[in-house]
């Protein structure tokens, strides 16, 4: 799926330089469920952003689906993103002015899917995450767990090859958090690659592999469980 070689990311603010990623090597195969862990400021989210084509590395190589994308312009990154990657954020990042239905529909609009097909796919996805009855609600009318389920639906509706989740349970209580994790596991069982940043050790156990980071470097990689059967439709 993806391969990072000697990846570096340096942030510059005036005269201050911060090395967020330092010679990172990482390989993720299709269908894996990988958890990235580490203390605050270790570079987890930066790594996720680069993997998700939301940012470019300062140096090094990033091959995604056999394409070298490290120096791709914004336009090409957007094209790759919309076809292949779905995002789930800690703070949900739903657009407050749009309804649940409109939020989930957004990726399909950018993929230029027809109106009829969009309606069918959005409703199917809302049904899948159990939030169809709230389709006309605004995000601020939902609980945290409900909002995260909407975010999951939005991430999945485009049928991406990979889901990137940045602390998806960070703002949820344990019950809702477990629900979200079970959703992710089910997705992974269907063949979707999942890369998840998390602070939670229990939730990291849902993944097959855990990558630990410290100070911008990958410290260790360990297997947490065997892969589930992939039955992707």
């Amino acid at each position: 799926m993806l391969k990072l070689d000697n990846l570096n990311k340096v942030f510059r603010a005036g005269e201050v330089e911060t090395t967020a990623l330092n010679s990172v090597d990482l390989k993720i195969t299709a269908g894996e469920f990988v958890a990235i862990m580490g203390p605050s400021g270790c570079g987890k989210s930066t790594l996720l952003n680069i993997i998700g084509l939301l940012d470019n590395p300062s140096s090094g190589s990033y091959r995604f689906l056999d394409e070298e994308v490290s120096a791709y312009p914004e336009r090409k990154l957007a094209q790759l993103r919309k076809k292949n990657i779905g995002f789930i954020f800690q703070s949900f990042n739903l657009i407050d002015e749009l309804t649940v239905f409109d939020n989930v529909e957004l990726p399909l609009l950018y993929q230029k899917v027809s109106a009829a097909a969009r309606r069918a796919r959005v409703e199917a996805m809302l049904e899948k995450v159990g939030i169809l009855s709230r389709r006309d609600h605004l995000p601020q009318q939902l609980s945290g767990g409900q909002q995260q389920r909407v975010a999951v639906a939005r991430a999945l509706v485009g049928e991406p090859k990979m889901i990137l989740a940045d602390e998806p349970t960070g703002n949820l209580d344990s019950a809702n958090g477990d629900d979200v994790m079970n959703l992710l596991v089910a997705l992974n069982a269907e063949g979707t690659t999942i890369v998840m940043v998390t602070h939670s050790q229990p939730h990291a156990q849902y993944a097959q592999r855990a990558v630990r980071m410290l100070d911008g470097k990958v410290l260790t990689e360990s297997t947490t469980r065997a892969p589930l059967t992939a039955n992707r439709a």
Partner: protein, 815 residues
Amino acid sequence: MFKSYLTIALKHLTARKLYSAINIVGLAVGLACFILIALFVTHEWSYDRYHANADRIYRFSLDYSLAGGGDVHLAAMAAPVAPMLEQDFPEILATARISRCGTADNGATISSDDVTYYDTGQGMADNSVFQIFDFEWLHGDPATALLEPSSVVLTASTAMRYFGTTDAVGRTLDFENGAALLEVTGVIGDLPDNTHLNFNLIMTPVPFFLEQWNQTCFHTYALLADGADVGAIQARASEFFERHLPENVAAFIENASFTVQPVTDIHLRSRRQAEMSPSGSLATVYTFASIAAFILAIACINFMNLATARGAQRAKEVGVRKAVGGSRAQMIAQFLGESILITLIAVLLAVAIVELVTPAFEAFVQKDLSVANLHDPRAIAALAALTVLVGLVAGSYPAFYLSAFKPAQVLRGDITRSTRAAAFRRVLVVLQFSISIALLIGTATVFQQLRYARAIDLGYDKDQVVVMTASALQGFGTQWEALKGEWLSSPDVTSVTASMQVPATPIVGTRLLRVEGVQSELPSPYTMFVEFDFFETYGIELLAGRTFGERFGTDRLAARGDSDSELTGSFVLNELAARQLGLTPEEAVGRAVEFPMDGVSGSIVGVVADTYLESIHSALKPLVYVVPPSQTGTFATIREASIRVTSNNLPDTLTHIDDTWKRFLPDQAITRRFLDQDFQALYESEERQGQLFLYFSALAILIACLGLVGLASFAVEQRTKEIGVRKAMGGTVFDIVRLFVGEFSRLVLVANLIAWPAAYFLMQRWLENFAYRIDLSLAVFVGSALLVLVVAFLTVGTVTARAARANPVRSLRYE
């Protein structure tokens, strides 16, 4: 996708009502000003373009120099020239003459069976005028209407005035009490506002006039063939007159030539002597267009500033859209679309404002702008184009700014305010206030110049003077002394005189003057024909010698010896004429003097003070006053009576004046006015300009302040925590207000650095239109700067004071 964009756009509009209102109202006011001024500018540009052959119609105007010096540039042409042009230039398909002596009084007494008017809109014209120009024919045949002698064509409202109907063909009008009986052969629609042609009644020319080279009131037009080389015609102008000018005329004038002017250029680009209508002003058009552009720019700047200042509120949305696959180009399209939507709402509001204020605006600029035009397809298309253009321009910077948010950054909550964007916003605020300050300086300067013009010592007393105008043909006839005596019989009439023209009208008519003992001739002094008591009635100061007096017996020009063609009498000069001859007033008195070209001679009996008989647009002129012979000829030299009255019993006095007129000149319509009304009219144009400057300055400041309200409100909102902390640390409301006011005020002070040089340059150019003018005053510049500063203080201070008064605990809990 469009539905998503529209939903978001409408939600944002309604969610933040204050900002939306500021944006929409600010843009709407700016657009309304722009549309109103565009209507005015379009109207001014449209003069005479409605004629089907407008691009091939030219006016041939006369230029010459007087023997001895002085150039004359007339709008009209000598009468005999038109057929000679057709003869000499095969590319001229047709010519037409319209005899109108400029905007000076072209009056004649005209009567139908029922009514008599002193009609100032009459003139003569060739029938070919109906082939060259387009008129709306209601009755009659344009092919033949003015072919027969004593035919007349009326405009519709003139026909209604005389006959109560437009169907007046075949009816007759009496011209100048039996001088001619005119048969109505045609009725045309009233001339539109946007033409330089100015008449309401035109008759077949009297053949006698068409042969006279001294008849120079004939505006001469030619229809040229397609593709005619106008330059080639112009190049042969001097040669044309060398060939055709009679010798006796050539003795008086030199360098006779013509200027070929496109008819579409006349209104805005021609300011010759004796134009048929008051000229428009290209400078005014450009000024108004600039003002419109500036005000719209201020409104667009507001939009940019508010949109970018509130950028943080759209950051998350931009990040999400990019994360789910939106490209920057799509973000830009979205924000430009929102901008066009807001502009569309503003345009609709602007159109409503325009329709509301247009009657007042039309009355103000004295033009019929036909606002109904806003509903026709071309206007709607223009409005649509304006909407898109303004939406794109105003929305461009915000669109590029907002779409640049990096998803990785904003989605983790890092919405660092760009210092570069903040600096650009400050530049925009400076620009807004530069324009406002410059407009204020312009306003103050215009009003100062007007005040100067009104307060200047004219050298004569214009108040309490009633003016009565007699017909050009008959004048006062033999009734002048009787009229004067009867008027003076009223105790409330203190003085009576007459002249060829009264103050506050342009002085025309120059003659070469030769003075005993003076080597050089006075090239072109202007001649004023006056009756006795002229200087006394107007209170013009005598500097040396004496004024005219009937008791001297020799002042009025009279035949010398047995010769009818040579006249002798007394001359009075003004001080400038004496000075140009190199003489003091005392040295001038007693010298023999002559108009060598006219066979008039005599001696200088007095020198009077210079007077501003015209507006201060024109420099003082050297004047020679003479008392003409009593009227015996066809045309009246003297036809304006000036009657100085007291302010007691004014209605009775006016009745006495009118009754006296009716008694001695029963066949002439009464035309009475007060002289100070004429004086008022001299500066009407500048008065209007000044008021327009004032209104637009106020609007510019209003719009800029709306922007300040928005920016200040947003700044306060962004720094709520800071305000809370400052208050918790002991800061007072005053300290908080001073902090914010200080930041914005610095921008206003910087704006002066741009505004002052620009305003100085522009107002210096404007003042050059006046021969006598004020000096630009530093006080005006400082005053304008202070006024804008105070307004900015109050605006920002009011907004921040409210936030500063809030409980700091609430502010600190805001986070």
